[in-house]
């Protein structure tokens, strides 16, 4: 380890100076005595840089961590030094020729991981060997190959990542895999699923995004079961579309397969956070079975030729309308050179009157403005009220029941093909992957309300 400071990793200011003075460093096994005569025996851990510069963190022999104030340290005896090495032992993933071939593409985050007990650091498990060690059930499902494309948190996913991901999917399909799983952070999983639905069309095999809501270093994690569900779906599922496979209920029971263009993260932390909006999910998946809920999907067919169309225009945005919004926001977007704006409008697709001139100017200057609804459920039906009709006259394109985030992803993809107003409008309103559906089933909108006797009765008798 270099002398440039890594051996005092994370320690700043006074704590750093004191450690240097005491002649000990991170990973030193020490017997530290304070001014009250208390003895702390354990390992000096690295410190988070966001914490203060007054304490030394020790992992004690009994497993607990404590912070000792630097001014109270009277004596330190170094008993040894051993750097923690974050390495996961690999077990060779068994090859079984009769099982389907599945490729897992990694984008970041940790679908599977192990824990360094000394430090609490989470070590991602990613190679087939590592994954086999963490989730051995996978070997009974398929022959697994993994490719790490990048290591980013899902909020940092952007244009280049989407393009690289689409290209990698194309390559894997060309190489003849039976299904693809994409490990992804959950925050923007819906965005990625949507954009891939446009970039990768006519896939012969399932493309399944998966993640976890409780990280895999916890015994109660949903990660292993989600991964098993996703890998099963890729290996044996009949739906050759871009999907999200995540917990159905919060109980450990089954996963839901959501269509990539119709799915949204609806809770910041629940396991059952992903919900299909405006339709029913495609299927349920458990450890040993699928139940197809929808008949309307593209079936697995390895003879089908995939079309990979990985283009993306980043100069697009969502304007989430609110009462009293000032028109200069729209002007600013035009001035900054944005090519496309998705408005998440109120109700059936509305904004206030003061915005009209600004929107008109924007469209005249070649900016493409489309309308989705911030209610998430339901259609933009702008012909119903005067407001909507005025906006249609200005040239705003209504997107029916396309979700706002899906609309943003699609607009970015479309604008990389054409900037012609009529063509953009045609492409945006022509569904590719059910991002617009002609009919909304009555069971496509179900937000049950607790407290009602019939709902309470249901909750009592079903695992949440």
């Amino acid at each position: 380890m270099s002398a440039t400071g890594d051996e005092l990793k994370g320690y700043r200011g006074r704590a750093r100076a004191r450690l240097a003075e005491l002649g000990v460093r991170v990973w030193s096994r020490v017997k530290l005595t304070n001014d009250a005569g208390s003895v702390f025996e354990g390992v000096i851990l690295p410190r988070s840089e966001t914490f203060d510069d007054l304490h030394i963190v020790i992992k004690m022999v009994n497993g607990y961590n404590v912070g000792v104030h630097v001014d109270r340290v009277t004596e330190v005896e170094e008993l040894g030094w051993k750097e923690a090495v974050y390495k996961i032992p690999e077990k060779e993933f068994p090859v079984r020729p009769n099982l389907p071939k599945v490729t897992l593409l990694g984008t970041g985050g940790t679908i599977a991981s192990r824990l360094d007990y000394r430090t609490g650091a989470v070590i991602p498990a990613f190679t087939p060997g590592e994954l086999y060690g963490a989730v051995p059930e996978l070997a009974d499902i398929c022959n697994l190959t993994t490719r790490k494309l990048f290591g980013v948190f899902s909020e940092n996913m952007a244009r280049d990542n989407y393009i690289a991901l689409a290209l990698a999917i194309g390559e894997e399909i060309a190489a003849g895999v039976d299904g693809i799983v994409i490990g992804h952070g959950t925050d923007t999983m819906g965005h990625t699923a949507a954009v891939l639905s446009f970039m990768v069309q006519d896939s012969p095999v399932p493309i399944v995004l998966v993640g976890s809501q409780r990280s895999s270093d916890r015994p109660s994690s949903d990660a292993a079961l989600n991964l098993i569900h996703a890998v099963r779906t890729a290996a044996y599922g009949d739906i050759a579309e871009v999907m999200i496979a995540m917990f159905g209920p919060t109980s450990d029971r089954y996963g839901l397969l959501h269509r990539g263009t119709r799915c949204r993260k609806m809770h910041s932390s629940y396991r059952s956070t992903f919900r299909t909006v405006g339709d029913i999910p495609l299927a349920t998946v458990s450890r040993d079975s699928f139940t197809y809920l929808s008949k309307d999907y593209r079936r697995r067919d390895k003879s089908r030729q995939v079309r990979v169309d990985p283009v993306y225009d980043e100069r697009t945005t969502i304007l989430y309308y609110y009462p009293g919004m000032h028109p200069d926001l729209v002007d600013a977007l035009v001035e900054k050179g944005y090519h496309g704006i998705v408005i998440a409008g109120t109700g059936l697709g509305h904004v206030n009157k003061p915005l009209y001139p600004a929107l008109k100017r924007a469209i005249e200057q070649g900016v493409h403005v489309v309308m989705a609804v911030q209610t998430l459920w339901g259609y933009a039906q702008m012909y119903v009220y005067d407001t909507g009709r005025d906006l249609l006259d200005i040239g705003i394109v209504p997107l029916d029941n396309m979700l706002p985030e899906t609309a943003l992803m699609k607009l970015s993809w479309v604008l990389a093909h054409t900037r012609d107003h009529a063509e953009v409008a045609r492409m945006m309103t022509t569904p590719i992957a059910h991002e617009i559906t002609p009919r909304e089933p009555h069971n496509g909108y179900l937000i049950m309300q607790g407290g009602l006797p019939e709902i309470e009765e249901w909750i009592k008798t079903h695992w949440k």
Binding site: A36, G37, S38, V39, F40, F51, D52, L54, H55, V57, M60, V61, N62, G63, Y64, N65, V66, G67, V68, H69, R72, A84, V85, Y86, K87, I88, P89, R114, L115, D116, Y117, R118, T119, G120, V122, I123, G133, A134, Q213, R214, S216, D217, R218, P219, S220, S221, A224, T250, S251, D252, R253, S269, Y270, R271, G450, E456, I459, K460, W463, K464
Partner: protein, 654 residues
């Protein structure tokens, strides 16, 4: 305690982990109300636990065992006492600082050094008792000491942590937990291994209990304090007896565990003598004997018996019920004859060590859990069955036999556990957590977890404990129990009353009343420690009376001592109308003032006594007259005054 045992010779060492719930308004990591227990639920969640691997690619022993049990876990939810945090569907909120404050107070009273920066750790539990799979816990103080029986009891550490769920049922592969208690803040006080006799253990539990209660900020009542008792003998191993609810249970449990460990050490010597010096030398083979028991007179080993057991318990496939068809398996324990009936705890044998493991790990809980060759039912059909089993296994005379039954996957696990338990026996005393019973016996609960199951909680930032905060808490700290006991003793209060007041929290009321009203300390101690206890037992709702009203009462006692004689009547009135002022209640009842012309009633009463042919003995007459009058005059006229008036009247009539 039988059998007798020389604890010093046995090298008995005991340490305690005392758990005490804190008196906070809210839970430790969420905003749910604390200690609002319920017996009903309005939602359920089904979960499983999966062990996480350490960096060495190895599972913690406990974790592995608990994964092997393949438990389905159901959590019962009640909207009034849990939120999505307890369901593990929301990360923790910032730690409840009220709980940290109380933990610091506790540490100060235990003479601990307060940690400068408190770090929340996760302690893994895969039995489902906590839905996350770990308990959030943090050390607040270290290096404390207490005066104990003329010497010092060392306190290794005090941690503040969240309480776990309450178990509702555990049948086969399904365990059901109620989540109301989950997340309640508690402190765990860990003593050094300084205790050497069973009686010392009970005394130390009571002492720490009094320390906890002296802060005035802990909960009392059933389950508010529980202790884990760590026991070992020389050559044995630390065994944790978990969740001992009362100090009174401890001596029997410690004695029994010491006895068990000594016997297990003798068994080890016997196994070594037979040449089993390495765990690998234990040989257990098995075979399917289902067919030998189809017509057995022991109903539980027959398929119909098992099916009835399953039907009566409403055991559901995939939940309570294990996988596979019903099977009876027999295990041949090569050259281990005589070891199944080896004594362990008083009145227990080694076979029950096997049964404990099988019940917990294989999930086979139909009594008697196993049959074995050293306590086989002795009716004639049964003995013939044993002969057939031995024949089928190819047993030699010095082999022992164990028979288990149930779903195939589970009997497989069970036979494997028999092998593993014998391997442990070759090593000596296995590191276990054991469950206590009131009769002083224990049963296997799980493998004792090691420090490998601890890791930092990445969801929670550390809390800096400033010197200012410690000084502030120190300034407001209640007296430690030994100081208070000495003060009360000096005032003539017996030890039992002092202990009761400290344990039940009445001591703080006593000291406050004495300080604020100038009441007599001894009187106040007896009032709160004895008289109120009596009324509480008579179901008087003493706890509904506010401090302000107690103070008013004691002020009245000081200004008008006659009222103290009517304490029971007054407290009953106060409890019945907890909102009314004491003065108004007294006025309503006419208490505190002598009724007009009360002395005029004495003469006729005394005359009636003389004429009635009652006892002529002077004292008896006085008592009779007092009894008649005091019912009316108590709290109005001092008893001494009434007596004097009666004496005077009797004297005149003589």
């Amino acid at each position: 305690m039988e059998p007798r045992l020389d604890y010093a010779e046995a090298g008995l060492i005991v340490g305690l982990e005392v758990h005490q719930q804190l008196l906070t308004a809210h839970k430790m990591f969420c905003r749910c109300p604390a200690r609002r227990y319920t017996t009903t639920h309005d939602g359920e969640v089904l979960r499983h636990m999966r062990p996480t691997l350490s960096e060495l690619g190895e599972y913690d022993g406990t974790a592995l065992m608990e994964f092997k049990t393949k438990k389905n876990i159901i959590y019962l939810l009640n909207e009034s006492n849990v939120c999505t945090y307890e369901m593990d569907d929301t990360p923790p909120f910032l730690v409840n600082q009220e709980a940290v404050d109380i933990a610091i107070e506790q540490c100060l009273m235990l003479g601990c050094d307060i940690v400068d920066e408190v770090h929340i750790a996760r302690k893994q539990y895969l039995d489902g008792s906590i839905p996350t799979g770990f308990q959030r816990t943090a050390i607040v103080g270290v290096n404390g000491r207490l005066p104990f029986a003329g010497r010092t009891l060392s306190i290794i550490q005090v941690s503040v942590e969240e309480d776990s769920c309450r178990e509702v049922s555990d049948e086969g592969h399904l365990i059901v937990w109620r989540t109301d208690r989950l997340g309640m803040p508690l402190i765990e006080t860990v003593t050094g291994p300084d205790l050497h006799t069973p009686d010392e253990v009970a005394a130390a539990i009571l002492l720490i209990g009094r320390v906890c209660r002296s802060t005035g900020h802990v909960r009392v009542g059933i389950g508010a304090s529980r202790q884990d008792v760590n026991v070992s003998v020389r050559g044995g191993h630390r065994v944790e007896i978990k969740g001992v609810p009362k100090a009174g249970w401890a001596p029997g449990l410690v004695h029994g565990e010491a006895w068990r460990q000594l016997n297990l050490l003798k068994l080890r010597a016997e196994l070594h003598r037979r040449g089993f010096t390495e765990p690998g030398s234990i040989a257990v083979s098995h075979t399917d004997v289902t067919d030998l028991f189809v017509a057995s007179e022991q109903p539980f080993v027959r398929r119909e018996g098992w099916e009835r057991f399953v039907a009566e318990g409403k055991r559901r496939p995939g939940l309570e019920l294990g996988n596979g068809p019903f099977r009876v398996w027999a295990a041949r324990l090569h050259r281990l004859a005589g070891t199944l009936s080896w004594p362990t705890q008083p009145d227990h044998f080694f076979a029950s060590e096997l049964a404990g493991r099988i019940r917990v790990i294989a999930g086979l809980d139909q009594r008697p859990i196993l049959l074995h060759s050293e306590k086989w039912p002795d009716h004639r059909g049964a003995l013939a069955e044993l002969r057939k089993v031995r024949q089928r296994l190819g047993c030699e005379a010095d082999d022992a036999v164990v028979v288990v039954w149930g779903p195939e996957d589970d009997v497989n696990t069970a036979v494997n556990e028999v092998q593993l338990r014998y391997e442990d026996a070759v090593r000596g005393v296995p590191a276990e957590t054991r469950q206590p019973f009131p009769d002083g016996s224990t049963d296997f609960e799980r493998i004792l977890p090691g420090p490998d199951r601890m890791y930092p909680d990445t969801d929670s930032p550390p809390t800096r404990v400033t010197r200012d905060r410690v000084e502030r808490l120190l300034a407001g700290l209640a007296e430690p129990p030994w100081v208070r006991e000495a003060r009360y003793a000096a005032a003539g209060v017996p030890g039992a009353v002092s202990h009761y007041l400290i344990r039940r929290g009445g001591a703080n009321l006593v000291d406050r009343l004495v300080a604020e009203t100038g009441a007599d300390l001894r009187f106040t101690c007896f009032f709160v420690g004895e008289k109120l206890k009596y009324l509480r037992r008579c179901s008087v709702a003493v706890e509904t009376i506010s401090y302000e009203h107690w103070r008013e009462l004691f002020q009245l006692f000081t200004t008008n001592p006659v009222l103290a004689e009517a304490w029971a009547q007054i407290v009953r009135l106060m409890a019945a109308s907890p909102l009314a002022s004491v003065a108004s209640l007294l006025a309503e009842e006419g208490l505190g003032a002598a009724p007009p012309a009360w002395t005029e009633r004495i003469e006729p009463l005394v005359e009636a006594l003389g004429a009635g042919g009652y006892s002529t003995e002077h004292g008896a007459k006085v008592r009779l007259a007092m009894g008649g009058l005091m019912a009316e005059l108590r709290g109005r006229v001092p008893a001494g005054e009434v007596r004097a008036a009666i004496e005077a009247a009797l004297g005149g009539a003589r």
